[in-house]
């Protein structure tokens, strides 16, 4: 094992000799430079390997006390401290150093061209920065800490100033001011501490407990902490750092933001044990405020680099608060590893990667940042942004989950700030990403990623992914849960294949997964599994109609479908949430593939991420308030161990159990369930939370929307039903949640349906229609009895059938006519007869007209409602269901009937790939219509946990108040229909087939199809009468919220004046105020 001393020696030596070698040739010096950096990385890597395996070897599993367990101590010059520099190398040090060095190495590669072009000083300074970082991490001595801090600082601002631009000079100077203040404070603090402890060794000082030694000790510790804190750029004393981030080249920034910050953070970590409790507490709040405020301000940033700077600042703040939290609650071992290490790891690589990627276009604001040309570059960008935003499978995701779960009861405010800050961060990152994708598509100048950037960035991305998966596995997540991601990855690697072939592979994957998992399911779970896998597969087949390639489409599609399956597979809250998040982001990226989808996708992401955070906090709270015997062990242990109740989830569903007999858990349980319900309702698009829905559905690609509506939207329903079964007691423990749920459901149905009536865009019509239909399902779920839940499941299945048909028809029509405006179509029945039949059957089913299966849903719903005296609900639901006629007729009339436009004469029938799933849906629908018991009886038996409230007699379904024989209705209707048809055929002489203008037109002849087709604003009188109901109140509300958030961010940003004096003042004020707060 190489002695850690070489980590100090190598950079020193290389820095010393490099200028000599430079005389001999730049090639030589560059070789030496990179060799030195590689050596640093290799040494720290070998230490990481050995310490970690040492721990594993010694204790068998990660989980013991990590510090110094398998490390080593090194004393320079062979002397004991204080005469020598004492260096420690343990697993933590190795971890920090290895990844910091790796990031540094990457940065050096990225900066390669500059290193080659500029004077050798740059290399020297770079090495000195690295040297400072090594020292900061390893040293055990306070004074040495100071020395390395100084080395690091001086090297850094020299490096900054080396750019010789006005901005960088000024930034370097601001850095010097801040650094100077920090150094002064540090030195004073050190002096005091030496006075108290009589030693400069950190361990001695900690042992001396300076904080307990009166005010002087506290002050000393405070000064020390404040110095380190300033270096870590807390809000609001971080203006100087942001200027640095903005004005310095990205490669250098990546070093400052990643290597330096990591080292200083580690230094803070080392002195943490000597901190008094109030200071720890203060650090928690400083950290989380920095996180929240920086992200809030980040919303208003236009410069990409400055935006990333805010993000860096925020992440460091988060790390500080995590340090404080782990000190406050005495976290150690796995918890600390998962939370702190994961955030740290995720932060350095995602941030470094982003800074590297921005290097080429660093002067642009995000609005003009057109992104890499190669698809791989976009993928890298996506990985870094996802990692930073805390999406799975990246490390931050696990960390946030565990963090929230651990502190939700103790520190709800911190959780709130954490989640809100994360939401802001996700919004501005995804906004940037969306714009990039959009600009790239609209053929604005995008750039090639040079290999010197692409290689390190790719390495970072791989590291992030691997690290994330490892972290996930460490959190005891079943490997199976990574299946969607793996499938996406595999298909992503096959991106060079022809698009159709990819589609077939994806279909094969989904089929295999379905064939494998569906038989394992039972009860309700199998219903949803059938919907998810079966519906997903059919939608996947439908996408094969596309003629042009769309890279990334099938990987995302497959990941999305499989993640829906994973939702059912999940055996723990974390696994459920993992699948949920995979579903969310894969659908976000899918939506983003749409041509005009930049804004809608952002809206979708905002609501989805927000909803997911609400869901997460609800789940965390739920896990926290459940009785300990259900979640074995302490709260802290609960986050990683598999929750036993949830482990049985798929089993519970389908097995008889009186689910509402559990005692209530009080307010917190109710609150938790409410949060969970809000999370699901966001996905469902319940009234008020729906504003993302129409745009996202409309602007997503035409082959994605059917999946979103017919399949994806059921995820929320599944979640809702699952959690009702899991935590039934929480339903009533705060307020009557089912009551609210029912009304939310019926109002969603009403407003969704009504809004659909007034839309011109075919996809928006069905988007609102989906919203309305899901409203009925939510209403049915809220009934909490067997008939109600049968209704919910029945509607879930039927909605898949008819909405799948409708959206596929819409896709076909849009594909063939090239427009989404219904009034521009018309008369397509003769050109697209099969699509027409599909649409016809679908609208009959959707509207609930017998004899098709849609009526079953209506019958079940009204029976369930009326039997329980929910008369108002029934009335509103009925009103909504009649309103549905309006948009349905309007759709089928305006598109298929009426006047064919001249330019649509050559329109052909939909492609076979689109028709095939429709035919399957039609057959399924007709089968269910002929024999309703085929579907309803299995559903009823799946819901055996409820007391049975409807039975069957010879094919007649009998509820407590009504009865219905679907087969008989079908037979009677068919017979009458055929009789009447025969009669007409008998009495009528052969009718003359005529053309579209052979109409009675008040004795005139129609002029043009456009002026003869009554299609635009079809329900004008209805709008006059009820249009006031669709005033976009919810939209305005959310828009106002976004505006206010943005203005607060903008206002907060004003404190950063760009003036060095002001920044110095900020720092001093920050320290002073902090001091008074602590000392009080």
């Amino acid at each position: 094992m190489v002695s850690p001393i070489y980590l100090i020696v190598i950079p020193l030596a290389v820095a010393f000799f490099i200028s000599f070698f430079d005389r001999l040739g730049r090639g030589l010096s560059l070789t030496l430079f990179y060799a030195g950096l590689i050596a640093l990385t290799a040494i720290s890597g070998s230490w990481l390997l050995s310490t970690v395996t040492g721990i594993i070897g010694s204790e068998g599993a990660i989980g013991g006390q990590l510090s110094q367990a398998a490390g080593t101590l090194v004393f320079t010059a062979g002397l004991e401290p204080p005469l020598s520099i004492a260096l420690a190398m343990g697993p933590q040090e190795a971890f920090f150093l290895f990844f910091a060095n790796l990031a540094g190495l990457g940065a050096a590669v990225v900066l390669g061209r500059r290193m080659a072009a500029e004077s050798v000083t740059a290399m020297v300074l770079f090495l000195m920065v690295m040297l400072g970082a090594q020292g900061l991490v390893m040293t055990l001595d306070l004074f040495n800490l100071f020395v390395f801090l100084e080395i690091s600082s001086i090297a850094t601002y020299s490096l900054i100033a080396l750019e010789r631009s006005r901005g960088s000079m000024s930034a370097g100077f601001k850095y010097i001011i801040a650094g100077g203040i920090a150094s002064a404070l540090f030195l004073i603090g050190t002096i005091y501490l030496y006075r108290i402890a009589g030693s400069l060794a950190i361990a001695d000082i900690i042992a001396a407990q300076p904080a307990a030694a009166g005010m002087a000790g506290v002050t000393a510790v405070f000064l020390l902490t404040a110095a380190l804190l300033i270096e870590l750029k807390p809000f609001p004393a971080n203006g100087w750092a942001l200027d640095v981030y903005q004005s310095v080249q990205s490669g250098v920034v990546s070093v400052i933001a990643v290597v330096n910050s990591a080292a200083v953070l580690f230094a803070l970590y080392k002195v943490f044990p000597m901190l008094p409790a109030p200071l720890t507490n203060a650090l928690l709040w400083i950290g989380i405020t920095t996180f929240f405020a920086s992200n809030l301000i980040g919303l208003r940033q236009s410069s990409v680099k400055r935006m990333l700077g805010y993000s860096s600042s925020a992440q460091i703040g988060l790390l500080i608060s995590v340090l404080a939290l782990s000190a406050m609650y005495g976290w150690s071992g796995r918890l600390q590893v998962i939370v702190f290490a994961s955030i740290f790891f995720g932060h350095i690589f995602s941030k470094a990667g982003l800074f590297w990627l921005t290097e080429v276009q660093e002067e642009r604001g995000w609005k003009g940042w057109s992104g890499p040309r190669a698809a791989g570059g976009v993928l890298l960008l996506a990985v870094f942004i996802a990692a930073l935003a805390g999406l799975p499978p990246f490390p931050t995701f696990w960390a946030k989950w565990v963090l929230v779960k651990s502190i939700i009861l103790q520190q709800p405010l911190v959780v709130a700030m954490l989640l809100l800050g994360s939401l802001c961060e996700a919004v501005y990152l995804l906004r940037w990403f969306g714009r990039t994708v959009h600009l790239r598509r609209t053929a604005a100048a995008s750039w090639n990623t040079p290999a010197r950037i692409a290689l390190p960035a790719a390495a970072a991305a791989i590291l992030l992914t691997v690290g994330g998966v490892i972290a996930g596995l460490a959190a005891d997540v079943e490997p199976l849960m990574f299946l969607p991601l793996a499938a996406g990855l595999v298909l992503g690697l096959l991106v060079w294949l022809p698009s159709r072939l990819q589609g077939f592979i994806a279909a094969a994957l989904v089929t295999a997964a379905g064939a494998l998992f569906i038989p394992q399911m039972q009860g309700m779970a199998s219903v949803f599994a059938l919907v998810f896998y079966g519906g997903g597969l059919l939608m996947l087949i439908a996408t094969l109609y596309k003629r042009q390639d769309s890279p990334g489409f099938y990987p995302l599609f497959a990941a999305l479908v499989l993640s829906l399956g994973s939702l059912i597979q999940a055996t723990g809250l974390l696994e459920f949430f993992l699948a949920w998040e995979i579903m969310t982001f894969s659908s976000y990226f899918l939506i983003l593939l749409g041509r005009e989808a930049e804004k809608p996708a952002l809206n979708y992401a905002t609501f989805s991420v927000g909803g997911a955070f609400v869901l997460m906090s609800g789940m965390a709270l739920m896990a926290a308030v459940l009785p300990p015997e259900i979640f074995q062990g302490s709260l802290i242990a609960a986050q990683v161990s598999a929750e036993p109740l949830l482990a049985a989830a798929p089993g519970i569903i389908g097995q008889g159990r009186d689910v509402f007999a559990v005692a209530p858990n009080g307010f917190l349980g109710g609150l938790a369930f409410t949060l969970i319900a809000i999370g699901f309702l966001t996905k469902i698009g319940a009234a008020g939370l729906h504003i993302w829905l129409p745009d996202a559905y409309a602007e997503a690609n035409d082959d994605v929307t059917p999946l979103l509506s017919a399949v994806l939207s059921k995820a929320g329903i599944f979640g809702l039903m699952l959690f009702v079964l899991l935590f039934p007691a929480a339903l009533f423990s705060w307020f009557n949640l089912p009551f609210v749920l029912r009304w939310v459901g019926v109002l969603t149905a009403f407003f969704g349906t009504l809004m659909a009536v007034f839309e011109e865009d075919i996809k928006r019509v069905f988007a609102y229609s989906s919203m309305g239909q899901l409203g009925y399902i939510v209403l049915a779920v809220g009934l909490l009895n067997q008939l109600g839940w049968t209704t919910a499941l029945y509607l879930t299945v039927i909605h898949l059938l008819f909405k799948g048909m409708l959206f596929l028809t819409a896709t076909a029509v849009i594909d063939r006519t090239g427009t989404r405006q219904m009034y521009r179509m018309g008369g397509l029945i003769k050109n697209m007869p099969i699509s027409f039949i599909s649409a016809l059957i679908a609208i009959i089913a959707l509207s609930g007209v017998p004899p098709l299966a849609g009526f079953g849903g209506k019958w079940l719903l009204y029976n369930a409602l009326t039997a329980n005296n929910y008369v108002l609900l029934a009335a509103v639901a009925f009103f909504s269901s009649t309103i549905a006629f309006l948009y349905l007729f309007r759709f089928i009339y305006t598109v298929f009937l009426g006047q064919l436009k001249i330019e649509h004469r050559r329109v052909r029938e939909a492609p076979a790939a689109l028709l095939l799933p429709q035919v399957v849906f039609i057959l399924a629908l007709m089968a269910v219509s002929m024999f309703p018991n085929l579907l309803i009886q299995p559903l009823q038996s799946a819901l055996a946990m409820f007391p049975a409230d409807a039975g069957w007699q010879n094919g007649t379904m009998v509820s407590s108040i009504g009865y219905w024989n679907g087969s008989a209705v079908m037979w009677i209707t068919m017979s009458v229909f055929i009789l009447m048809l025969l009669w007409l055929l008998f009495v009528q002489r052969k009718p003359q087939p005529v053309s579209q203008f052979n109409i009675v037109f008040a004795a005139e002849r129609p002029e043009r199809p456009e002026t003869t087709h009554y299609g635009y604003n079809f329900f004008a009188p209805y709008r006059k009468a009820l249009g006031f109901l669709v005033t976009p109140l919810a939209g305005r509300f959310w828009h106002r919220i976004a505006e206010v958030t943005g203005s607060i961010g903008g206002a907060a940003r004003r404190i950063y004046t760009g003036n060095g004096q002001t920044y110095a003042l900020h720092i001093l004020l920050f320290v002073t105020i902090l001091y008074f707060l602590i000392a009080r």
């Binding site: 001249i902 003359q992 053309s995 579209q996 709008r1023 006059k1024």
Partner: protein, 224 residues
């Protein structure tokens, strides 16, 4: 509240209409009448009546269910209104008004017919279904009446469409019109109400006459 909505509504409507108009570019004018996808080009056929008692029964039903096309082609239309009033009550005879030629069986030419109206008369007549009957009111339909020398008013309607019953006068009173209806009923019952077939038989002659005066013939030859 509601007025605001309406106003907003109108504005958005106008905006959308503007967009549509812009998208259409210059208004392209009427579509081509000889386009077989727009207009059916089939000629009318002679539809043979049934024979014997059955046809007599049907004719009786037809005669007693005269649905009049509500199309006032001239000043005589004003004489039709009183027919439905309590004084004359044509519904006793099975006469009823019908707003569309598709559902009507009797076409009343209400007096003078300008060339422009003639075009609409022909179109409406052809859109009625066989069997169909025509009653022509007043001198104008017989010989041009007071418009006999007008450059724009035809003189004899029977040159253009077949007429079952003429009712003279300028204008004939409702009593006369009722008498005309009774006459028509007699004709139908006698099996002589086959003018629709006559029209189909002499289609070319009628069409030539029509086209002689209707110069911008932007319809198909037969309006189904």
């Amino acid at each position: 509240m509601s007025t605001d909505i309406n106003k907003e509504d109108t504005q958005t409507q106008q905006e959308s209409i503007r967009q549509v108009v812009e998208a259409m570019g210059e208004y392209p004018g009427a579509a081509d009448a000889s386009d077989p996808q727009l207009f059916c080009e089939a000629r009318p056929k002679v539809e043979k009546p049934f024979r014997g008692v059955f046809e007599k029964f049907l004719n009786w039903a037809r005669a007693n269910s005269l649905w009049v096309l509500g199309f006032g082609t001239g000043c005589g239309a004003i004489e039709l209104r009183p027919l439905m009033t309590s004084r004359f009550d044509a519904s006793r005879f099975g006469v009823a008004g019908r707003p569309t030629p598709r559902q009507s069986s009797v076409f009343i030419i209400g007096g003078y017919a300008s060339v422009k109206t003639l075009k609409r008369i022909v179109r409406s007549y052809e859109q009625m279904q066989n069997p169909k009957f025509v009653i022509a009111l007043g001198s104008c339909t017989i010989n041009g009446g007071m418009y006999w020398d007008s450059y724009n008013t035809i003189n004899r309607i029977d040159q253009y469409i077949p007429v079952d019953v003429y009712i003279t006068g300028c204008m004939p009173r409702p009593e006369a019109i009722l008498a005309g209806f009774v006459k028509l009923q007699e004709l139908i019952k006698a099996g002589r109400g086959e003018k629709a077939n006559e029209y189909a038989e002499h289609f070319d002659w009628y069409k030539a006459n029509q086209k002689k005066v209707i110069k911008d013939w932007d319809m198909p030859d037969y309006n189904w």
